[in-house]
């Protein structure tokens, strides 16, 4: 357990040092979301209509951009193989790194999402739904992303391949996530959608660490 915490803390502190401090992740998210109103035009009704989608897609992209951080650096400087030789089972190594990724790269987005939601003219019922659906759904993004990251870690600059592997798997999350916000805006029950999201999260939590661990073993050979 101590090893797990040590790894988690190290990853979080590294992310902070390497300048993806809160402010920066935030700025990325804000800028990414800003692109859409600029692209599609400022009409408030259109924005409100596409708001939930834009926020979810923004979260998804921010996640995607930071995915390679999960394993790439550790692989390249030889830290990964040292970690694998340590006392912590690989599945837990993966889990610690996924948690660190979610906390440093995704959680900050969720925290600012209400402000962005307001700027996109989202209905106030939608805002809470947004935050809750992000909280429940985004862990899947980090979990699946870790599998993709582990699979591509040995290929130098696997970035594009990574997004190719990962994005299709993100689509269900996106669909249910947006659906739950839209349900809330339409004053319909959002429970079922959230249940589905939660189910995805749990399923990914069970499957992904093992898949990523297997992929990592291949990578260090």
């Amino acid at each position: 357990m101590n090893s797990f915490l040590a790894l988690l803390m190290r990853d979080m502190r590294l992310a902070y040092r390497q300048g993806s401090a809160l402010t920066m992740t935030l700025s990325f998210f804000v800028i990414a979301v800003t692109l859409f109103p600029l692209g599609v035009g400022p009409e408030l009704d259109v924005l409100a209509r596409i708001g939930p989608g834009v926020l979810w897609v923004g979260a998804l992209l921010a996640c995607l951009l930071t995915l390679d951080r999960i394993f790439q650096a550790d692989y390249e400087d030889g830290t990964l193989e040292q970690l694998l030789m340590g006392p912590l089972p690989i599945e837990f190594i993966v889990l610690a790194k996924i948690m660190a990724h979610w906390i440093t790269s995704v959680l900050p987005l969720i925290i600012v999402s209400p402000i962005l939601a307001i700027s996109l003219n989202l209905h106030s019922d939608g805002i809470w739904a947004m935050v809750i659906s992000l909280l429940i759904g985004t862990p899947v993004l980090s979990l699946i992303g870790a599998v993709g990251g582990a699979l591509t870690v040995a290929m130098r600059r696997g970035g594009v391949l990574l997004s190719l592997l990962v994005l299709p798997l993100y689509i269900p999350v996106l669909i249910f996530g947006v659906a739950s916000v839209e349900a809330a805006v339409a004053l319909l029950p959002m429970g079922p959608h959230l249940m589905l999201l939660g189910g995805l999260s749990l399923g990914a939590l069970v499957v992904c660490p093992f898949a990523a661990a297997a992929a990592l073993r291949l990578a260090v050979e």
């Binding site: 300048g19 402010t23 800003t34 109103p37 035009g41 400022p42 408030l44 307001i118 700027s119 003219n121």
Partner: protein
Amino acid sequence: MAIDLHKYANPTRFLRIANAIFPWSIVVSVGLLVAGLYLGLFVAPPDYQQGETVRIMFVHVPAAWMAMSVYSMMAVSSAAGLIWKHPVADLSAKAAAPIGACFTFLALVTGSLWGQPMWGAYWVWDARLTSMLILLFLYLGYMAVWESFEDQSKAAKAAAILVLIGAINIPIIKFSVDWWNTLHQPASVATMEGPKIHGSILTPLLIMGLAYTSLFVTIFIIRVRAEILGRRLRMLRVNQLQE
């Protein structure tokens, strides 16, 4: 043998002038700020359309002016730093950035508070507002670059490159209201034909503008002095190693 530490050159003259100005700039900022706020909030007439909300203008407009002029000043001094390697130039750009970011933030916040009664929304994605938001990000990016390099002379160059490229945003902000049809109202003070608003509003506005400027000068001097002292300390350390 003394090393030619050009980049560490001692900016004595700057310090002398700054020290002379400093007490005055404090007095002037406080005085103008009090006068401007009094005139703006109590003396100036409410607008026939906007009512009392118009008073936000006295905070908002000068802040927006400052946001743009501080960035322009940073661009100029960064260029000077790159071209003439003037020792104080990089420092002053670095020192000015957070102040400029604060003015930008102030303009954004007051603007959106004003937007709620005026346009019915805190935020609209109009060209002026967006380009102003970009300005904030340029400031943040600039400061992040300074943070990201340990070697200060490298950081200075990298940040200077960034600030110069970002300078393209300033004319975009300025002329956004003319180039696109925006919700935001076009310029009425700083136009080619001269000010187009009434003196009872113009006077407090200009006073606030001056107040902000001298406030900027005050904080700027404090920050530059701190920077110069820090740099001197490092220079001392290097020279000590040499002995």
